[in-house]
Symmetry: C2
Amino acid sequence: MGLSTAYSPAGSGLVPAPLARAARRRSVQVRRPRLATVRCSVVDAAKQVQDGVATAVGGGAASGNECFGVFCNIYDLKAEDKTKSWKKLVTIAVSGAAGMISNHLLFKLASGEVFGQDQPIALKLLGSERSFQALEGVRMELEDSLYPLLREVSIGIGPYEVFQDVDWALLIGAKPRGPGMERAALLDINGQIFADQGKALNAVASRNVKVLVVGNPCNTNALICLKNTPNIPAKNFHALTRLDENRAKCQIALKAGVFYDKVSNVTIWGNHSTTQVPDFLNAKIDGRPVKEIIQDTKWLEEEFTMTVQKRGGVLIQKWGRSSAASTAVSIVDAIKSLVTPTPEGEWFSTGVYTTGNPYGIAEDIVFSMPCRSKGDGDYELATDVSMDDFLWERIKKSEAELLAEKKCVAHLTGEGDAFCDLPEDTMLPGEN
Amino acid sequence: MGLSTAYSPAGSGLVPAPLARAARRRSVQVRRPRLATVRCSVVDAAKQVQDGVATAVGGGAASGNECFGVFCNIYDLKAEDKTKSWKKLVTIAVSGAAGMISNHLLFKLASGEVFGQDQPIALKLLGSERSFQALEGVRMELEDSLYPLLREVSIGIGPYEVFQDVDWALLIGAKPRGPGMERAALLDINGQIFADQGKALNAVASRNVKVLVVGNPCNTNALICLKNTPNIPAKNFHALTRLDENRAKCQIALKAGVFYDKVSNVTIWGNHSTTQVPDFLNAKIDGRPVKEIIQDTKWLEEEFTMTVQKRGGVLIQKWGRSSAASTAVSIVDAIKSLVTPTPEGEWFSTGVYTTGNPYGIAEDIVFSMPCRSKGDGDYELATDVSMDDFLWERIKKSEAELLAEKKCVAHLTGEGDAFCDLPEDTMLPGEN
């Protein structure tokens, strides 16, 4: 029984720091990176003792960890009927954790809908000094949700601490573009963030960490990040294009008069920008080519892509802010596609490193392409893909843009001096 | 195959109103109640045809319905392998649908986590003229999420239209208290909303609709609502106290040094206000009475209740706004407790009508009490409940408050003239 250990003297029994008091104490301004940890029934008890967490009640400052009252107690999930068949704890870092997208995503991760009902979860929330109190609020709301699978929550503002041993890093946080800011300037500012986070991942994360970059411009941010992580396979880095894929599926369904679960094999090629290429050539409706069913070629070649690209802007007009809930859903979809086997004959879109791709896309960039997974977190590129001049021409345009973006950030990827010549502003509406 | 019907002439084939165009057209200011409907593969095709939805493409103004493009097509879920074993569509109305709590809740309802993976869902979103565009944004994000179970989404600002045939009404929307506003004035303003919504439910909802009132003051709002619905059983009305129960469980777990899944039988008695009574006498940790395990009586009798009540206020300080995600989680918990059988020996808290209660609580108010369910949406009051002087005295105080609130709203419940004498301000922090 886990209960018997719950009252052991080692756990300090009934003298926890009440949360409200701990919260007050920690409302002073944060001056240095730190990591506050709430731990609940940790799977790897030996490791935790080694880290000094169990005895660090309210006094974890020296180690950069803080331990909250009775959650510092240790007991053994393997001893409990309900939990003994559970998998090993998975540790997930989320940056921009106080933002709206994360506010949806964190609760989905904690609920088990992403990794399954036998997968205990540790969440490590990366924020800023400014957002630290909001992160504490998020942590409190996660506690109040009583999710059985959520076994650790920690918050911090230093990537070297937050990324320690993480299995997944969901990099959502990025600076928004200010008024009048050139896109090149944004690439530089955000690129620096992702270079720094890459260095931190390289130093402290799991050697097989999977990294999903959401903060924009996400393809080039992902490239910068992976260039700063020589110890982690470049294949492990993803740029989120799943929201574009989902929107494209919805628009095809609307046009064809079918429910969206009939639409498959929709690839988003290229950059998560207005040069992105939603692919209707390979897309299928109930297993049949979309072009057989939607014969309005003008719609497919013109309106379809524009509608997908403008969706975010229309939403902002309606809603007064960027999509958050549906972005979080698409992040869930992106992760689930990597941890569950892809159905026979289907694929999903994700921005990945182009080394050795069979399509003829330039090497050494992050490009959204059709992928399949065996469900092990890894992927392979889809092979049964058709190409025609119309599709290829647009793919080349997005490729050219990403090659130009890459030159803009050469100083961040260790490839010499940056040279930035971006002819057009191709940020998606609502993302600049 | 559903596909074959998807291209039938009846569905207008390939000439839908593209969403972006429909959205532009509908961005003019709304002058009258209306209901915009997105329908996808409706279960009850016969009924839909009868309602004229199938032929109302872009022209549903006369019927108060609007139909979006190809979603107006009809096909038969019973003909498809994936969906033929699904249950009958459940229709859920949500008021305050453009707010933050709903923004979390709607996606949970659509995902299937509340009603199960074989339960198709229709969402009917009730908003205001001011929030109508935001509701359109919510609808777009729900579409982009591609939830297979989500089969209808409609939006409107008139309760008589939105509540038509609904099986569940989740009444979240309420006016916040303005600066300097007396609580009695808030009771009157919000009471009027719930009286009107009650009348609408009485007129048009399913005769067995379940109603969960979240908008505050929720107990008395629920009482007002049920007093205006003579055709619907009073037993079907609930006031949300589940967030308080979840917070109480979390605090007991923190104090006892156990994970929160060990804590059960925590009742919130009474009003969702500072007179609420989190019950530690009947609460259990791993099946044992909490008082056997937490022997710090002062904490149980004083700090525990205050910490639970102040949780919302602390969150606002941290987070800069009221809890939304954890409130939505607690709404999900409250519904799941009614639609899944309660585990042997356990119970959950919900504010219900007190007629015939075995505890000796005054009749004819809405009081949070311990309930059990067979999973059919109905409940019975728990019988194996202990009482002592300390608990009873506090219950009587909350009862007195609810009786006083009831007198304040007599004009809204059909019981004569209101007489309002509320001695204290007992709104919970963050809810006034």
